[in-house]
């Protein structure tokens, strides 16, 4: 039986992923800010076959609360097979350009809070010497684009941090998985016009579970973002700075 922790468990991608693990009969520990919604999701996951569902409230920006939470998770589950960090927001880029305070707050939510969590949880995995730490980053972190570079730079920090953590943990038998979804049709992106590149949370969730099962390091979801981002990363800066993305 798998033991799975999900931070940001009320997000659409996280909820879809939790359903996959619930159907496998997993034990789940859900963490999110909104306790009422967590309650609904926990009932749903129990019905879908989860053996047990624990819940705890957390505001990820309350870094002082992280250690206590990690303590509680290990006290409840004993060990953790998959630790999925899935929380996040989609900041309004133009508002972040107008307010440094907002920019830093969004950077904290999408970047530093994840770094803090991973830092606090890493020693547990060092002791466990097995398991998967999965982090949802984003294709947006691969290169800064004018349309959302605040979000992108926070995710770039997450991607780089996870890459270093992976080097540190691999030799101990712990896999660090960086997940880079492209456009996903969720409540977070409700106001966007959807085109052919948009994926459903269910598809992303299946990709996450598969990548975690197979011990992958980096997963672009869906896969076609790998070649797309390969190209975007390699456009020379003198061209890149003149195009609109």
């Amino acid at each position: 039986m798998q033991k799975v922790v999900i931070i940001g468990a009320t997000s659409a991608i996280a909820e879809s992923t939790a359903r996959l693990y619930a159907a496998r009969g997993a034990q789940l520990f859900l963490v999110a800010r909104n306790v009422a919604r967590l309650e609904d999701i926990a009932a749903d996951l129990r019905t879908r076959g989860a053996q047990e569902v624990f819940q705890a409230p957390l505001d990820v920006n309350d870094v002082l609360a992280h250690a206590g939470l990690i303590e509680r998770i290990w006290a409840s589950l004993g060990q953790v097979d998959v630790f999925l960090v899935a929380h996040g927001t989609l900041p309004d880029q133009s508002q972040c350009e107008a307010s440094a305070e907002l920019a830093l707050k969004e950077f904290a939510t999408n970047g530093t809070s994840t770094i803090a969590l991973l830092t606090t949880v890493a020693p547990r995995f060092e002791m466990q010497r097995k398991g998967v730490i999965a982090v949802i980053s984003s294709v947006a972190g691969d290169r800064g684009r004018q349309s959302n570079y605040l979000y992108g730079s926070a995710k770039a920090a997450v991607t780089t941090f996870a890459s270093g953590l992976r080097q540190r943990m691999t030799k101990l038998g712990v896999n660090v998985l960086t997940i880079k979804p492209g456009f996903v049709d969720t409540p977070m992106t409700r106001d966007f016009k959807k085109g052919a590149l948009w994926a459903k949370p269910d598809d992303i969730a299946r990709g996450i579970a598969r990548a975690a099962d197979r011990g992958r390091s980096v997963a672009y979801l869906p896969w076609f973002w790998l070649p797309i981002m390969l190209i975007i990363r390699h456009v020379p800066e003198f061209v890149f700075k003149r195009i609109k993305l």
Partner: protein
């Protein structure tokens, strides 16, 4: 998945704002104009559209709340699909009490249309198996409705086309099954009176009965077809076929309808002769039995950009045979033809909703490619026949019935209208009442 804000028949077009709901505890969003709940867009006509207004997209309210494997009582949010219920409960020995011909409908949609299935003669409509639901109104009030509690609101909301408020969650009673298999018998019949004899004979011992009618043939072959009767199979039938794993889909909308008089005649003739013997016995998985078209994603695209119109009517017992014969003759003579014509005898179990469509008699479901005025004129002629026989037409499949006939088919419409939420409206409702 259907394009959001479209009905399954892809006719008519409507312009509306879409607001996704995912939290059943939240209040209704504030909007300027009227709102209408929208589930998975499987209604065929305009009963799920709200031109010029807002659709409350409830599909994301898709959480299970509890499932008691001992009693088969399931509580879930209104956006849960029948397919999701089946995936959860069939392996645990339970099945939907009533299901329409697609499993891609939401629980909320099934309540709003009081859907029926091949077991109507045994189980009645879906609404009869709803133990309770919560109704959220635009004034912020929440009512838990059941046959005992707020029975008037219960009766108005079942079959109430989403107009009485938003159903947030519902509790339904499932039925026991031994496994996913069905044992079915398939008969070829040569005219409508043979169908009625077969159907009558089968109603007592078979939970599911339905017939497909060859709509392209005329003269002596008029009314020939294939009759299927089935029961859930015992736990370990000799033959245990799997669910079909391959899922096809129609990748794009062809510029014109692929359903035309030539393809129609060819399909109908082939389908009629697909089995050599006049009777065959088969054990099959429930999926192809209940949901033959669900195996082909976006099949509604084959009708081209103009879409298609469904027409489902019921004619009362005394007039059934004659009415069906007249309908078939009228359709055959028009040359419009229907790709799939489905015939079934309803039983006499009363439907719980004020506006429920199912009532005793024979029901015929047809679909016609939308060829404009010609198609509309044919459907008007069919309406005249159904109305004269004292029958009714199914709102969930309608995009064009005249207001005067709607009011004749559903005499309770006026008492129903007192239960409509003042913020709620639909293209269909405005069309048939204003």
């Amino acid at each position: 998945m259907s394009k959001v804000g479209q009905s399954w028949g892809r006719y008519p077009n409507a312009n509306q704002t879409l607001i996704a709901l995912s939290d059943r505890h939240a209040g209704l969003p504030a909007t300027a104009g009227s709102v209408l709940p929208y589930g998975n867009g499987r209604s065929y006509g305009d009963s799920c559209l709200n031109d010029g207004g807002t659709l409350l997209h409830a599909r994301l309210m898709d959480r299970f709340i509890r499932f008691d494997v001992q009693t088969g009582v399931l509580e879930c949010e209104a956006g849960v699909l029948f397919s999701e219920i089946l995936d959860l409960v069939v392996p645990q020995g339970w099945f939907l009490p009533v299901t329409p011909g697609t499993k891609f409908v939401t629980v909320g949609g099934a309540i709003a249309n009081d859907v029926h299935g091949k077991n109507h003669h045994k189980a009645g409509t879906f609404g009869r198996h709803v133990l309770e639901f919560e109704l959220l109104r635009s004034d912020g009030s929440r009512r838990v409705c059941s046959p005992q509690q707020h029975p008037d609101w219960f009766a108005a909301t079942i079959g109430g086309l989403g107009l009485t408020g938003l159903v947030t969650r519902a509790t339904i009673q499932l039925r026991r099954v031994a496994g996913p298999w069905m044992s079915a018998e398939v008969y070829r019949f040569h005219d409508l009176s043979e169908f009625f004899r077969l159907s009558q004979k089968s109603d007592r011992d078979y939970e599911y009965t339905v017939a497909w009618i060859d709509c392209a043939s005329q003269g002596k072959a008029l009314g020939r077809g294939i009759f299927t009767r089935a029961n859930h199979a015992p736990a370990h039938p000799d033959n245990r076929p799997n669910a079909p794993s391959r899922r096809l889909r129609v990748p794009l909308t062809p510029p014109v309808s692929l359903i035309n008089p030539i393809s129609l005649r060819a399909f109908n003739t082939l389908y009629f002769h697909r089995q050599r013997e006049s009777v065959s016995h088969v054990t099959m998985h429930y999926e192809p039995h209940f949901y033959p078209l669900d195996g082909i994603g976006d099949w509604n695209r084959i009708y081209g950009p103009r879409g298609f119109m469904q027409y489902q009517c019921v004619a009362p017992p005394g007039a059934s045979l004659e009415c069906m014969e007249t309908l078939m003759k009228t359709i055959a003579a028009s040359g419009e033809g229907s790709f799939l014509a489905v015939l079934k005898q309803f039983g006499d179990i009363p439907s719980p909703g004020l506006l429920s469509f199912p009532r005793p008699g024979a029901t015929l479901a047809l679909d016609f490619p939308n060829r404009g005025p010609g198609t509309l004129a044919l459907l008007d002629r069919l309406d005249d026949i159904v109305a004269a026989a004292g029958g009714a037409v199914y709102p969930a499949k309608d995009a064009r019935m005249p207001a005067r006939y709607f009011k004749q088919y559903f005499p309770a419409w006026e008492s129903f209208s007192h239960y409509i939420d003042s913020k709620f409206s639909s293209s269909f409702w405005r069309r048939v009442t204003e």
